[in-house]
Structures are given as structure tokens and as C-alpha cells.
């Protein structure tokens, strides 16, 4: 079955149902203390000015914090280690993110340069049968995929290859979520119910047969368009979710084996939109394609 926003919604609904049915959910921020953040030191400090040279078509996002929907599991610490509270927030080093999602026109250029990824040539290991299926031909997007629309029905492998070709990489979940948390005027829109509501309304709308042009939704604080309201987007580490039905029983995470696993560990159980993105990512596989799933690229800032 191909994943779709609907599948993501269903999965999210299950997660939320789990939260409702299986007892109390720990309050957000229940983990006390000031643990050291996992990961390494970050480059530029928060608030550092944007570097002079921003790559073409990209926007600068300064270093900051990202609050993962799920903290690292505390269920199964390594022996000899304290089950210390994991960090509520993780640092995200400064980076650049494409202003727009990759368009069909961009993707044609990639396919000309890297014919291996053309529909008729690409190995099936990397794409399912839906790959670019709305296109008229190998190098002709056609009427169902106008040049200014985000390219969709591309797999993780294909999206990753595109970004590599551009000298870039797919954004991590942390990078994508940090950028996407921004409203038109604020870096973190989580506290703004209207912003949350806008995102949820988009999730509730059916996928149009042809996506709207890039740039047709809003420009956020960082100058980035369409992080919400156009298409879902691939992330580099989408397979770090570990809470899918499929992973139940095959995972090293005890937490994912029982009821409400989807919500008990959540940092902010009220963030329904984040739950849905999380669930959608969990439903993906690297070769999957979907009519509402595109991507953009990122680059670490110097």
C-alpha cells in the first residue's frame, strides 16, 4: 500500500487514540534537570548574522534548538549508564534550506544530467512503480506536472540523489522541523494556536491531482515558502521514527512494543500536527512515492 497523508492521518489517529485509551500522558517537560544536550557542539551561536554568501535559491536558518516530538528512549538505557533525563531540546547548527520545494523543471535538469534516474532506467531498488507516473515521458513532465509545480512521486533515493547532484543534502528531521516551526513573524509558532490550526486544516484537505505552484502558500520568517500547505517533504533521516505498526515487535525500543507507545514518550502531546508528520514519516519506505510527497534540499552553513 502506498502511503498517503490519509495513511498518516490514520496512523496519527491511532497514536492519539492510544494516548486517550491507555492512561495518563506525562506532562510535557516532565523530565527535570539540565542534562547535557546529546550530540556535538554547534557552529554559529543563536542570533549570529547570516553569512554573506547564501547559496542561490536558499535561505539561512540560524543555529537554534529543536524540540523533538520524541525524546530519546529512556526505557532501555545501556548498563552502567544512568537513565538520565534526555534533553528536551537538541541543538541544530546553522544551515541553509531551499526557499522552494524542488520543481518539475528542476527535476528535468537533474534527469538530463543523471539519466540513471529517468523513469525508464532507474533500478527498481530505488523507486516503486509510482515514480514520476504523472509525467508524460522520461524527460517530459507534461500537463499533469507543470514546470513550476513541486516534483512529486519521487522516492527518498531519488530525492537524495538530486540533492547530491546539487552539492546539497536532504534536510534532517531536526532541520526541517526547525524551519517549519516558523510563522511569518516568529521563529517558533508552536505557541500560536492559529498557526497550528492552519496546518491541521491543510492536513484535512484532500490532495489535489496537481499540486499548486511553489511559492503559493506563505513565506516564513526565514524567507522559506511552502513548508506547510503544498506537499509533504522527504527528510534525510525519515527512518528514525520507530513507532510504526510494522516496527512493533521487531524493534529494540521496548517503548514501541506496547499500547500508547506513540504518545507516552512525546515531548508535547498537544502538537497534533507534529504527530501527523511523525506518523507519515513512519509509514514511508525509501522506495515509496506519493502524489503529495516532494522534497527540498539543505546545506550546513559554514
Amino acid at each position: 500500500m502506498r502511503p498517503s497523508p490519509l495513511a498518516g492521518l490514520l496512523a496519527a489517529a491511532l497514536l492519539l487514540a492510544g494516548a486517550a485509551l491507555c492512561g495518563p500522558v506525562p506532562a510535557a517537560g516532565a523530565a527535570e534537570g539540565k542534562p547535557t544536550a546529546p550530540g556535538a557542539a554547534i557552529g554559529a551561536g543563536a542570533g549570529a548574522p547570516a553569512p554573506r554568501a547564501v547559496p542561490a535559491g536558499m535561505a539561512y536558518v540560524p543555529a537554534g534548538m529543536y524540540r523533538p516530538l520524541y525524546r530519546p528512549s529512556q526505557a532501555d538505557p545501556q548498563p552502567g549508564q544512568q537513565a538520565a533525563a534526555a534533553a528536551d531540546e537538541v541543538p541544530v547548527a546553522a544551515y541553509f534550506l531551499d526557499v522552494y520545494a524542488v520543481t518539475n523543471a528542476d527535476y528535468v535538469a537533474f534527469l538530463r544530467a543523471q539519466p540513471r534516474w529517468q523513469r525508464s532506467r532507474v533500478p527498481h531498488l530505488f523507486v516503486d512503480e509510482g515514480y514520476l507516473s504523472a509525467w508524460a515521458g522520461d524527460l517530459e513532465p507534461g500537463p499533469q506536472a507543470p514546470p513550476d509545480r513541486p516534483v512529486v512521486r519521487v522516492s527518498w533515493f531519488a530525492a537524495r540523489a538530486f540533492c547530491k547532484w546539487r552539492g546539497r543534502q536532504l534536510p534532517t528531521i531536526a532541520q526541517w522541523e526547525r524551519a517549519a516551526a516558523a510563522t511569518e513573524t516568529q521563529a517558533d509558532g508552536h505557541a500560536d494556536p492559529a498557526f497550528e490550526q492552519r496546518i491541521l486544516e491543510w492536513y484535512g484537505r484532500p490532495t489535489p491531482p496537481v499540486p499548486a505552484p511553489v511559492g503559493s502558500t506563505f513565506r516564513n520568517l526565514w524567507g522559506i515558502y511552502d513548508l506547510h500547505g503544498l506537499v509533504w517533504e522527504w527528510t534525510r533521516d525519515f527512518n528514525t521514527a520507530l513507532v510504526t505498526g510494522e516496527s512493533r515487535g521487531d524493534s529494540g525500543v521496548e517503548r514501541s512494543l506496547f499500547c500508547a507507545a506513540g504518545s507516552v514518550g512525546a515531548a508535547d502531546p498537544g502538537d497534533y500536527a507534529a504527530f501527523m508528520r511523525f506518523a507519515f514519516r513512519s509509514s514511508l519506505r525509501g522506495d515509496y512515492t506519493a502524489s503529495s510527497l516532494g522534497f527540498r534540499c539543505a546545506l550546513p552553513a559554514p
Binding site: 546529546p38 525524546r71 530519546p72 528512549s73 529512556q74 532501555d76 538505557p77 545501556q78 548498563p79 549508564q81 537513565a83 538520565a84 534526555a86 534533553a87 533500478p123 527498481h124 531498488l125 530505488f126 527518498w156 533515493f157 537524495r160 534525510r236 533521516d237 527512518n239 528514525t240 521514527a241 520507530l242 510504526t244 516496527s247 515487535g249 521487531d250 524493534s251 529494540g252 525500543v253 519506505r285 525509501g286
Partner: protein, 208 residues
């Protein structure tokens, strides 16, 4: 970095020409099998994991193209050596598969472990792990590699993983069986999974 890019380009070219489908080209290192075996078909299946151009390091630190495993059934899992709980069980599950094979069958099969923790799993750490677990040299191959190649292989195999915040990883427990061309033919999902379906598929690959 440049050297690696160059090596990859050569590998991709060689793959495109079907050259790597000949096990005779497998690098001579650490007793990798493949010498003198019958040639598999030259064309790489579209579903073969050997479509990946990644290159790994074995316990001796020698570079090993992923595609050099082809020509034999491969039983593989992705683990990390400092793992205290799930990974040893996965390896034991694989050893049990090994033990059910006849000596002739064993000689045909490669058992491979790929590290999801390349930062700590150096070739030396992998060598120590192989000795500690009593994994037969020549039959068991342990690999570490570039983090991006690790990510790619996890995605191809359907392994989910992430750092658990305590120096370890949460990860799917999967044992995969590849045929000689690198197509996944069977998977064991979970710890202590019933190995019968994978063994049946493996016996099928070994000709009964």
C-alpha cells in the same frame, strides 16, 4: 575524499558494464569467497542491493565494495558491537542458521554484519567482536563504513534506527537473506524469530 569519489566512479562504471557481476573481480582480502565459483548472470537485477555503489571496510581495514559479496547467498544483519541486548541475540540467531547448514552448504553462504555505529566500530573493534563471538573467519564478514552509506543501507533493508541518547541505538531487529544477485529473498523480523521460512528460502537458493 577525492580518491573515494574516484573509486566510486570506477565502481559505478564497472557496475554499469556488468563487470562486477563476476566474482573473480572481488578484491583479494581476508579470504572473501568468490574465487573460482561459477559466474552468476552478468546483468544486475533492478532489485539487487548491489545497485548501491557503497564501499565498506572489513576487519582488516581493507576496502570492500558491497557488490563484491555477490555470487553467494548472504545472510546479513545491521548491528553495533557495543550493543548489549538485541544485537548479540541477532548474531546468535544467525549462528543458529549457520549451524543448521551442512559443511558443504556453509561453504556457499556468506554471513555479514554491517555496523550502524561507524564512529565506534572501527575495523579493530569489529575484529575483536568477531573473535569474541567466535565467528568463523572466511565465512563471517563484518563491515564498517561511511555514515551516509550506513543510512542508505538501512533504508534499502528497511532497518529503522536512531541514537537512543545513551550511547547506543534503537533499531529494528532484522536478519535478511540475499540471493547470489543481491535480491532480498527472506527476512526474519524480531528477536528469536522462527528461522524456518528463511532457512527454507536459503535451502532453495542452495539447490535443495
Amino acid at each position: 575524499m577525492h580518491g573515494k569519489t574516484h573509486a566510486l566512479a570506477v565502481l559505478l562504471l564497472a557496475t554499469a558494464l556488468g563487470l562486477l557481476a563476476r566474482p573473480g573481480l572481488a578484491p583479494a582480502h581476508g579470504g572473501m569467497k568468490g574465487m573460482g565459483q561459477e559466474l552468476p548472470p552478468a546483468e544486475l537485477s533492478g532489485n539487487s542491493i548491489y545497485q548501491l555503489g557503497s564501499e565498506w571496510k572489513d576487519v582488516h581495514g581493507a576496502p570492500v565494495p558491497l557488490a563484491s559479496l555477490q555470487g553467494h547467498p548472504v545472510v546479513l544483519a545491521m548491528v553495533y558491537t557495543s550493543c548489549e541486548h538485541a544485537c548479540p541475540v541477532l548474531v546468535e540467531d544467525m549462528k543458529r542458521i549457520e549451524q543448521t547448514l551442512s559443511p558443504q552448504e556453509r561453504a556457499e553462504v556468506i554471513f555479514a554484519l554491517f555496523s550502524i555505529d561507524p564512529a565506534r566500530d572501527t575495523p579493530a573493534a569489529l575484529a575483536a567482536y568477531r573473535a569474541d563471538k567466535g565467528l568463523a573467519d572466511g565465512r563471517w564478514h563484518l563491515f564498517t563504513g561511511d555514515p551516509d552509506d550506513v543510512l542508505e543501507l538501512t533504508v534499502v533493508l528497511g532497518v529503522q534506527y536512531r541514537p537512543d541518547g545513551f550511547g547506543g541505538f534503537s533499531h529494528s531487529n532484522l536478519v535478511s537473506l540475499l540471493d547470489a544477485r543481491g535480491v532480498v529473498r527472506s527476512r526474519l523480523v524480531g528477536l528469536h524469530a522462527n528461522p524456518a521460512p528463511l532457512l527454507a528460502a536459503l535451502h532453495g537458493l542452495l539447490g535443495g
